[in-house]
Symmetry: C2
Subunit: 104 residues, 2 copies
DNA sequence: TTATCATTTGAATAATTGTTCATATGTTGA
DNA sequence: TCAACATATGAACAATTATTCAAATGATAA
């Protein structure tokens, strides 16, 4: 795992801190975290996620839209289905470090 | 069809994911992120933070309590003042990676 | 085209939450 | 002891937001 412990904040200004809070707000919902968790190892279509989390496709779609806007997930169409996947390793790192914190 | 419920993503169970969302919820507020930012390089007492962020000590104290409960900050008393500081490098890492994500 | 499946969208409701204000607690020095 | 300062707490209000429901869009095959 990457070690960011010596990184500086590199002069984050007020606007950037605001955006940062908005980013974590996206992680800060149990439904969205469960969706990200479902996508951690593999891509899934909306119905997969809805089935797995026992939610309506509509509710899942609403949250996927938010995750996409924050660039935490990407998607690709395959016929009628749209598959979603984690956007990059930042997402995995943030989740992994969060879990480390909880498990201490 | 796709069923991920019994194999992947068992790195965290439902309860842990709920706690994880609660953790990120703490990061997901601009006031608290600004407080963490203020504490990134040095410890501060409540009044320092209130002055720096142009907030009332009461509002700062409310948020510091939440940060403390999530173990994102620690504190120590020095006379009348109570100094707060970032609890550990997980906090710095999460902030640093979040900023990286924004800056991409 | 039409039917059907998969997903998205918009509006409304319900629940959560950050700030303010007033008050309380805790610490120090006179 | 008291007074002054620093911080914490509780209640109430205002703003935000996740889910539901109904309807719309997009894609495929007959």
């Amino acid at each position: 795992m990457n070690n960011y412990s010596n990184d500086k904040m590199n002069f984050a200004d007020e606007n950037e801190l605001y955006d940062l809070a908005e980013l974590f707000k996206v992680f800060g919902d149990s439904t969205r975290i469960r969706i990200l968790s479902a996508l951690y190892g593999r891509e899934c279509c909306v119905q997969d996620i809805a089935d797995g989390l026992k939610m309506t496709p509509s509710a899942v779609s609403h949250q996927l839209k938010i995750l996409k806007q924050s660039k935490l997930v990407g998607n690709r169409r395959e016929g009628k289905q749209i598959f979603y996947f984690l956007a990059d390793d930042h997402v995995r790192s943030i989740i992994a470090i969060g879990l480390e914190h909880l498990r201490e």
